[in-house]
Protein backbone atom coordinates (compact mmCIF):
# COMPACT_ATOMS: atom_id res chain seq x y z
CA UNK A 1 0.00 0.00 0.00
CA UNK A 2 1.46 3.31 -1.00
CA UNK A 3 1.82 6.22 1.38
CA UNK A 4 -0.16 8.61 -0.78
CA UNK A 5 -3.19 6.38 -0.80
CA UNK A 6 -3.37 5.60 2.87
CA UNK A 7 -2.72 9.25 3.50
CA UNK A 8 -6.13 10.23 2.19
CA UNK A 9 -8.15 8.30 4.68
CA UNK A 10 -6.10 9.40 7.69
CA UNK A 11 -6.26 13.04 6.58
CA UNK A 12 -9.97 13.01 5.92
CA UNK A 13 -10.73 11.28 9.18
CA UNK A 14 -8.44 13.58 11.12
CA UNK A 15 -9.69 16.84 9.68
CA UNK A 16 -13.38 16.05 9.77
CA UNK A 17 -13.72 14.17 13.02
CA UNK A 18 -16.67 16.23 14.28
CA UNK A 19 -18.66 16.18 11.03
CA UNK A 20 -17.96 12.48 10.57
CA UNK A 21 -19.06 11.65 14.07
CA UNK A 22 -22.38 13.46 13.62
CA UNK A 23 -23.02 11.87 10.24
CA UNK A 24 -22.08 8.48 11.56
CA UNK A 25 -24.22 8.71 14.68
CA UNK A 26 -27.14 10.05 12.66
CA UNK A 27 -26.96 7.10 10.30
CA UNK A 28 -26.54 4.64 13.13
CA UNK A 29 -29.42 5.98 15.24
CA UNK A 30 -31.84 5.88 12.33
CA UNK A 31 -31.09 2.20 11.87
CA UNK A 32 -31.20 1.22 15.51
CA UNK A 33 -34.27 -0.73 16.53
CA UNK A 34 -34.00 -0.13 20.23
CA UNK A 35 -33.20 3.34 21.36
CA UNK A 36 -32.77 4.70 24.83
CA UNK A 37 -30.67 7.42 26.35
CA UNK A 38 -28.17 5.10 27.99
CA UNK A 39 -27.56 3.15 24.77
CA UNK A 40 -27.16 6.38 22.81
CA UNK A 41 -24.63 7.75 25.23
CA UNK A 42 -22.76 4.45 25.08
CA UNK A 43 -22.64 4.44 21.32
CA UNK A 44 -21.59 8.10 21.18
CA UNK A 45 -18.74 7.37 23.56
CA UNK A 46 -17.62 4.29 21.61
CA UNK A 47 -17.79 6.18 18.32
CA UNK A 48 -15.79 9.11 19.71
CA UNK A 49 -13.08 6.71 20.80
CA UNK A 50 -13.15 4.73 17.58
CA UNK A 51 -12.30 7.43 14.99
CA UNK A 52 -9.02 8.59 16.55
CA UNK A 53 -7.97 4.96 16.91
CA UNK A 54 -8.55 4.31 13.23
CA UNK A 55 -6.59 7.47 12.37
CA UNK A 56 -3.76 6.33 14.59
CA UNK A 57 -3.75 2.84 13.10
CA UNK A 58 -3.64 4.16 9.52
CA UNK A 59 -0.87 6.62 10.33
CA UNK A 60 1.18 4.18 12.34
CA UNK A 61 0.80 1.14 10.12
CA UNK A 62 0.55 2.88 6.75
CA UNK A 63 -1.70 0.07 5.72
CA UNK A 64 -5.33 -0.88 5.31
CA UNK A 65 -4.52 -4.44 6.26
CA UNK A 66 -6.80 -4.96 9.25
CA UNK A 67 -4.76 -7.92 10.52
CA UNK A 68 -1.58 -5.84 10.80
CA UNK A 69 -0.16 -5.20 14.30
CA UNK A 70 -0.91 -1.47 14.00
CA UNK A 71 -4.61 -2.25 14.14
CA UNK A 72 -4.49 -4.26 17.35
CA UNK A 73 -6.05 -1.46 19.44
CA UNK A 74 -8.91 -1.08 16.99
CA UNK A 75 -9.42 -4.82 17.05
CA UNK A 76 -9.46 -4.83 20.81
CA UNK A 77 -12.02 -2.04 21.01
CA UNK A 78 -14.26 -3.81 18.52
CA UNK A 79 -14.10 -7.12 20.37
CA UNK A 80 -14.85 -5.42 23.70
CA UNK A 81 -17.78 -3.66 22.11
CA UNK A 82 -19.13 -6.86 20.56
CA UNK A 83 -18.83 -8.71 23.86
CA UNK A 84 -20.71 -5.91 25.65
CA UNK A 85 -23.45 -5.99 23.03
CA UNK A 86 -23.89 -9.73 23.37
CA UNK A 87 -24.56 -9.20 27.07
CA UNK A 88 -26.95 -6.31 26.37
CA UNK A 89 -28.93 -8.44 23.96
CA UNK A 90 -28.22 -6.65 20.67
CA UNK A 91 -28.75 -8.53 17.42
CA UNK A 92 -25.76 -9.27 15.15
CA UNK A 93 -27.10 -6.79 12.58
CA UNK A 94 -27.26 -4.03 15.15
CA UNK A 95 -23.73 -4.83 16.23
CA UNK A 96 -22.33 -4.78 12.70
CA UNK A 97 -24.25 -1.58 11.91
CA UNK A 98 -21.79 0.21 14.15
CA UNK A 99 -19.11 -0.27 11.49
CA UNK A 100 -21.18 -0.28 8.31
CA UNK A 101 -22.92 3.01 9.01
CA UNK A 102 -19.52 4.71 9.13
CA UNK A 103 -19.03 3.82 5.46
CA UNK A 104 -21.48 6.36 4.05
CA UNK A 105 -20.11 9.51 5.69
CA UNK A 106 -16.53 8.42 4.93
CA UNK A 107 -17.34 7.77 1.27
CA UNK A 108 -19.11 11.14 1.04
CA UNK A 109 -16.04 12.86 2.40
CA UNK A 110 -13.76 10.94 0.03
CA UNK A 111 -15.91 11.98 -2.92
CA UNK A 112 -15.72 15.61 -1.78
CA UNK A 113 -11.95 15.63 -1.28
CA UNK A 114 -10.97 13.63 -4.36
CA UNK A 115 -13.58 15.00 -6.75
CA UNK A 116 -10.91 16.13 -9.21
CA UNK A 117 -9.04 12.80 -9.28
CA UNK A 118 -11.53 10.06 -10.25
CA UNK A 119 -9.00 7.23 -10.47
CA UNK A 120 -7.60 7.97 -6.99
CA UNK A 121 -11.17 8.19 -5.71
CA UNK A 122 -12.06 4.81 -7.19
CA UNK A 123 -8.99 3.15 -5.68
CA UNK A 124 -9.52 4.78 -2.32
CA UNK A 125 -13.19 3.80 -2.23
CA UNK A 126 -12.36 0.17 -3.05
CA UNK A 127 -9.61 -0.04 -0.45
CA UNK A 128 -11.59 1.72 2.25
CA UNK A 129 -14.65 -0.37 1.44
CA UNK A 130 -12.63 -3.55 1.82
CA UNK A 131 -11.26 -2.32 5.13
CA UNK A 132 -14.71 -1.53 6.50
CA UNK A 133 -16.09 -4.86 5.31
CA UNK A 134 -13.25 -6.60 7.10
CA UNK A 135 -13.94 -4.63 10.28
CA UNK A 136 -17.65 -5.42 10.03
CA UNK A 137 -16.96 -9.12 9.63
CA UNK A 138 -14.59 -9.03 12.55
CA UNK A 139 -17.31 -7.46 14.68
CA UNK A 140 -19.77 -10.17 13.72
CA UNK A 141 -17.18 -12.88 14.39
CA UNK A 142 -16.48 -11.46 17.82
CA UNK A 143 -20.21 -11.24 18.46
CA UNK A 144 -20.54 -14.90 17.54
CA UNK A 145 -17.69 -15.81 19.85
CA UNK A 146 -19.33 -13.95 22.70
CA UNK A 147 -22.54 -15.86 22.05
CA UNK A 148 -20.71 -19.16 22.09
CA UNK A 149 -19.09 -18.30 25.39
CA UNK A 150 -22.52 -17.55 26.86
CA UNK A 151 -23.82 -20.90 25.59
CA UNK A 152 -20.85 -22.77 27.00
CA UNK A 153 -21.24 -21.12 30.38
CA UNK A 154 -24.92 -21.99 30.44
CA UNK A 155 -24.16 -25.61 29.55
CA UNK A 156 -21.72 -25.78 32.42
CA UNK A 157 -24.25 -24.27 34.82
CA UNK A 158 -26.92 -26.66 33.62
CA UNK A 159 -24.56 -29.56 34.22
CA UNK A 160 -23.98 -28.50 37.80
CA UNK A 161 -27.56 -27.56 38.52
CA UNK A 162 -29.30 -30.61 37.19
CA UNK A 163 -27.66 -33.36 39.21
CA UNK A 164 -28.54 -33.00 42.88
CA UNK A 165 -28.07 -35.90 45.28
CA UNK A 166 -30.54 -35.77 48.16
CA UNK A 167 -30.62 -37.72 51.38
CA UNK A 168 -34.05 -39.27 51.96
CA UNK A 169 -33.27 -41.11 55.18
CA UNK A 170 -30.30 -42.11 57.23
CA UNK A 171 -28.23 -44.30 54.86
CA UNK A 172 -30.61 -43.70 51.92
CA UNK A 173 -29.74 -41.35 49.05
CA UNK A 174 -31.84 -40.39 46.05
CA UNK A 175 -30.59 -39.18 42.70
CA UNK A 176 -33.43 -37.73 40.63
CA UNK A 177 -32.17 -37.54 37.07
CA UNK A 178 -33.75 -34.99 34.73
CA UNK A 179 -32.96 -34.79 31.01
CA UNK A 180 -30.88 -36.85 28.67
CA UNK A 181 -27.83 -38.63 30.03
CA UNK A 182 -24.68 -38.20 27.97
CA UNK A 183 -21.14 -39.19 28.89
CA UNK A 184 -20.21 -35.82 30.37
CA UNK A 185 -23.31 -35.71 32.54
CA UNK A 186 -22.90 -39.30 33.66
CA UNK A 187 -19.41 -38.46 34.81
CA UNK A 188 -20.70 -35.55 36.92
CA UNK A 189 -23.61 -37.61 38.26
CA UNK A 190 -21.29 -40.46 39.19
CA UNK A 191 -18.79 -38.19 40.93
CA UNK A 192 -21.54 -36.39 42.86
CA UNK A 193 -23.13 -39.65 43.94
CA UNK A 194 -19.88 -41.29 45.06
CA UNK A 195 -18.83 -38.16 46.93
CA UNK A 196 -22.18 -38.06 48.71
CA UNK A 197 -21.90 -41.75 49.58
CA UNK A 198 -18.61 -41.02 51.32
CA UNK A 199 -20.00 -37.96 53.09
CA UNK A 200 -23.16 -39.59 54.40
CA UNK A 201 -22.00 -43.19 54.65
CA UNK A 202 -25.15 -44.22 52.80
CA UNK A 203 -25.64 -47.89 51.93
CA UNK A 204 -28.46 -47.49 49.41
CA UNK A 205 -28.89 -45.07 46.54
CA UNK A 206 -32.08 -44.72 44.52
CA UNK A 207 -31.55 -43.54 40.96
CA UNK A 208 -34.85 -42.11 39.75
CA UNK A 209 -35.15 -41.82 35.98
CA UNK A 210 -38.69 -40.41 35.80
CA UNK A 211 -37.25 -37.27 34.22
CA UNK A 212 -35.15 -39.05 31.62
CA UNK A 213 -37.10 -38.77 28.35
CA UNK A 214 -35.57 -41.72 26.49
CA UNK A 215 -33.35 -44.61 27.40
CA UNK A 216 -31.17 -46.02 24.63
CA UNK A 217 -28.32 -48.48 24.94
CA UNK A 218 -25.87 -45.68 25.70
CA UNK A 219 -27.98 -44.23 28.50
CA UNK A 220 -28.56 -47.72 29.89
CA UNK A 221 -24.84 -48.37 29.83
CA UNK A 222 -24.20 -45.10 31.66
CA UNK A 223 -26.75 -46.07 34.28
CA UNK A 224 -25.16 -49.49 34.74
CA UNK A 225 -21.74 -47.87 35.10
CA UNK A 226 -23.05 -45.61 37.83
CA UNK A 227 -24.60 -48.59 39.60
CA UNK A 228 -21.34 -50.56 39.31
CA UNK A 229 -19.26 -47.68 40.67
CA UNK A 230 -21.60 -47.23 43.64
CA UNK A 231 -21.43 -50.95 44.31
CA UNK A 232 -17.64 -50.82 44.38
CA UNK A 233 -17.99 -48.22 47.13
CA UNK A 234 -20.24 -50.55 49.05
CA UNK A 235 -23.61 -48.99 48.23
CA UNK A 236 -26.46 -50.79 46.50
CA UNK A 237 -28.48 -49.00 43.84
CA UNK A 238 -32.16 -49.15 43.01
CA UNK A 239 -33.35 -47.77 39.69
CA UNK A 240 -36.85 -46.34 39.92
CA UNK A 241 -39.24 -44.30 37.82
CA UNK A 242 -39.18 -46.64 34.84
CA UNK A 243 -42.10 -45.76 32.60
CA UNK A 244 -43.91 -48.51 30.63
CA UNK A 245 -42.47 -47.38 27.30
CA UNK A 246 -38.98 -47.33 28.75
CA UNK A 247 -39.42 -50.84 30.15
CA UNK A 248 -40.40 -51.97 26.66
CA UNK A 249 -37.46 -50.18 25.08
CA UNK A 250 -35.02 -51.71 27.57
CA UNK A 251 -36.22 -55.24 26.79
CA UNK A 252 -36.26 -54.64 23.04
CA UNK A 253 -32.71 -53.33 23.18
CA UNK A 254 -31.64 -56.40 25.10
CA UNK A 255 -30.18 -54.38 27.96
CA UNK A 256 -29.47 -56.57 30.96
CA UNK A 257 -30.78 -54.94 34.14
CA UNK A 258 -31.13 -58.23 36.00
CA UNK A 259 -28.36 -57.50 38.47
CA UNK A 260 -30.01 -54.25 39.49
CA UNK A 261 -33.11 -53.81 41.61
CA UNK A 262 -35.67 -51.90 39.54
CA UNK A 263 -38.94 -50.39 40.69
CA UNK A 264 -41.69 -48.58 38.85
CA UNK A 265 -41.96 -45.66 41.24
CA UNK A 266 -39.72 -43.81 43.66
CA UNK A 267 -42.16 -44.65 46.49
CA UNK A 268 -41.72 -48.40 45.94
CA UNK A 269 -37.96 -48.00 45.79
CA UNK A 270 -37.99 -45.98 49.00
CA UNK A 271 -39.93 -48.72 50.81
CA UNK A 272 -37.38 -51.33 49.74
CA UNK A 273 -34.56 -49.05 50.79
CA UNK A 274 -36.12 -48.51 54.23
CA UNK A 275 -36.50 -52.26 54.66
CA UNK A 276 -32.85 -52.75 53.74
CA UNK A 277 -31.62 -50.25 56.32
CA UNK A 278 -33.93 -51.74 58.93
CA UNK A 279 -36.44 -48.93 59.25
CA UNK A 280 -40.20 -49.30 59.12
CA UNK A 281 -42.90 -46.75 58.50
CA UNK A 282 -46.32 -47.03 60.20
CA UNK A 283 -49.30 -44.73 60.31
CA UNK A 284 -49.65 -42.93 63.62
CA UNK A 285 -53.31 -43.98 64.13
CA UNK A 286 -52.58 -47.64 63.43
CA UNK A 287 -49.58 -47.69 65.71
CA UNK A 288 -51.70 -46.78 68.71
Amino acid sequence: MSLAMTGHLAKILNENQEALLEGWLGGMMSRMVRRDKAAEADIRQQATRFIPQVVKAVEKGQTYDFDAPAWSEVRQQLSEMSAARVRQGFSPTETATFIFSLKEPVFALLRQTLSDDPSALATEVTETGALFDRMGLFTVEEYQRGREQVIMRQQQELLELSTPVVQLWKDVLALPLIGTLDSARTQVVMENLLQKIIETGASIAIIDITGVPTVDTLVAQHLLKTVAAARLMGADCIISGIRPQIAQTIVHLGVNLEDVITKATLADAFLIALKRVGATVTRADQAN
Binding site: M190, L194, Q195, I197, I198, A229, L232, M233, A235
Partner: protein, 118 residues
Protein backbone atom coordinates in the same frame (compact mmCIF):
# COMPACT_ATOMS: atom_id res chain seq x y z
CA UNK B 1 11.41 -58.73 52.02
CA UNK B 2 8.42 -56.43 52.30
CA UNK B 3 5.13 -57.95 53.31
CA UNK B 4 1.62 -56.74 53.72
CA UNK B 5 0.53 -57.27 57.34
CA UNK B 6 -2.51 -59.40 58.07
CA UNK B 7 -4.27 -58.58 61.34
CA UNK B 8 -6.54 -61.01 63.15
CA UNK B 9 -9.74 -59.61 64.65
CA UNK B 10 -11.77 -62.41 66.21
CA UNK B 11 -12.63 -64.73 63.35
CA UNK B 12 -11.92 -62.02 60.79
CA UNK B 13 -8.68 -61.11 59.03
CA UNK B 14 -7.90 -57.52 58.12
CA UNK B 15 -5.54 -56.72 55.27
CA UNK B 16 -4.68 -53.06 54.71
CA UNK B 17 -2.96 -52.36 51.43
CA UNK B 18 -0.97 -49.15 51.62
CA UNK B 19 1.79 -49.59 49.09
CA UNK B 20 1.83 -50.09 45.35
CA UNK B 21 1.26 -53.70 44.48
CA UNK B 22 3.60 -55.62 42.23
CA UNK B 23 3.62 -59.24 41.14
CA UNK B 24 5.88 -60.56 43.89
CA UNK B 25 4.04 -58.73 46.66
CA UNK B 26 0.67 -59.92 45.36
CA UNK B 27 1.87 -63.55 45.25
CA UNK B 28 3.26 -63.25 48.79
CA UNK B 29 -0.01 -61.74 50.02
CA UNK B 30 -2.05 -64.54 48.48
CA UNK B 31 0.28 -67.14 50.03
CA UNK B 32 0.16 -65.48 53.46
CA UNK B 33 -3.58 -64.91 53.37
CA UNK B 34 -4.58 -68.42 52.35
CA UNK B 35 -2.18 -69.76 54.98
CA UNK B 36 -3.66 -67.55 57.68
CA UNK B 37 -7.27 -68.36 56.75
CA UNK B 38 -6.53 -72.03 57.30
CA UNK B 39 -4.38 -71.52 60.41
CA UNK B 40 -6.70 -69.05 62.18
CA UNK B 41 -9.89 -70.66 60.87
CA UNK B 42 -11.02 -67.26 59.71
CA UNK B 43 -14.60 -66.88 58.43
CA UNK B 44 -14.15 -63.48 56.87
CA UNK B 45 -11.50 -61.33 55.19
CA UNK B 46 -11.53 -57.53 54.98
CA UNK B 47 -9.32 -55.94 52.33
CA UNK B 48 -8.94 -52.23 53.01
CA UNK B 49 -7.79 -50.19 50.03
CA UNK B 50 -8.69 -46.72 51.35
CA UNK B 51 -5.06 -45.67 51.09
CA UNK B 52 -4.81 -46.51 47.40
CA UNK B 53 -5.31 -43.64 44.95
CA UNK B 54 -4.63 -45.81 41.93
CA UNK B 55 -5.94 -49.30 41.31
CA UNK B 56 -5.04 -50.74 37.93
CA UNK B 57 -6.32 -53.85 36.20
CA UNK B 58 -3.57 -55.92 37.82
CA UNK B 59 -4.56 -55.08 41.38
CA UNK B 60 -8.20 -55.43 40.41
CA UNK B 61 -7.63 -58.96 39.17
CA UNK B 62 -5.46 -59.76 42.17
CA UNK B 63 -8.33 -58.75 44.49
CA UNK B 64 -10.84 -60.84 42.51
CA UNK B 65 -8.52 -63.84 42.65
CA UNK B 66 -7.86 -63.44 46.36
CA UNK B 67 -11.62 -63.28 47.03
CA UNK B 68 -12.15 -66.43 44.98
CA UNK B 69 -9.36 -68.25 46.87
CA UNK B 70 -10.84 -67.22 50.22
CA UNK B 71 -14.25 -68.47 49.11
CA UNK B 72 -12.78 -71.88 48.34
CA UNK B 73 -11.51 -71.94 51.94
CA UNK B 74 -15.01 -70.96 53.19
CA UNK B 75 -14.15 -67.36 54.13
CA UNK B 76 -16.08 -64.37 52.76
CA UNK B 77 -14.17 -61.42 51.43
CA UNK B 78 -15.30 -57.81 51.68
CA UNK B 79 -13.43 -55.04 49.89
CA UNK B 80 -13.67 -51.79 51.83
CA UNK B 81 -12.75 -48.12 51.50
CA UNK B 82 -12.53 -47.67 47.77
CA UNK B 83 -12.03 -44.03 46.71
CA UNK B 84 -14.59 -42.51 44.29
CA UNK B 85 -11.93 -41.89 41.65
CA UNK B 86 -10.79 -45.50 41.89
CA UNK B 87 -14.37 -46.75 41.55
CA UNK B 88 -14.90 -44.65 38.42
CA UNK B 89 -11.62 -45.83 36.91
CA UNK B 90 -12.40 -49.49 37.54
CA UNK B 91 -15.85 -49.12 35.99
CA UNK B 92 -14.37 -47.39 32.95
CA UNK B 93 -11.86 -50.24 32.67
CA UNK B 94 -14.79 -52.66 32.73
CA UNK B 95 -13.60 -54.24 35.99
CA UNK B 96 -16.68 -54.37 38.16
CA UNK B 97 -15.19 -57.03 40.46
CA UNK B 98 -18.12 -59.41 40.20
CA UNK B 99 -18.33 -61.77 43.12
CA UNK B 100 -16.48 -59.46 45.49
CA UNK B 101 -18.59 -57.85 48.19
CA UNK B 102 -17.91 -54.23 49.00
CA UNK B 103 -18.49 -51.83 51.88
CA UNK B 104 -17.80 -48.16 52.47
CA UNK B 105 -15.44 -48.58 55.43
CA UNK B 106 -14.01 -51.20 57.77
CA UNK B 107 -16.83 -50.74 60.29
CA UNK B 108 -19.53 -51.38 57.69
CA UNK B 109 -17.47 -54.22 56.29
CA UNK B 110 -17.39 -55.96 59.67
CA UNK B 111 -21.15 -55.45 60.03
CA UNK B 112 -21.68 -56.95 56.59
CA UNK B 113 -19.52 -59.99 57.38
CA UNK B 114 -21.39 -60.56 60.63
CA UNK B 115 -24.71 -60.36 58.76
CA UNK B 116 -23.43 -62.86 56.22
CA UNK B 117 -22.27 -65.24 58.95
CA UNK B 118 -25.69 -65.21 60.69
Amino acid sequence: MERIPILKMGDLLLVTIQVDMHDRLAMTLQDDLTGRIVKDRARGVLIDISALDIVDSFIGRMISNTAAMARVLDARTVLVGMQPAVAITLVELGLTLHGVRTALNVEKGIALLQRLAD
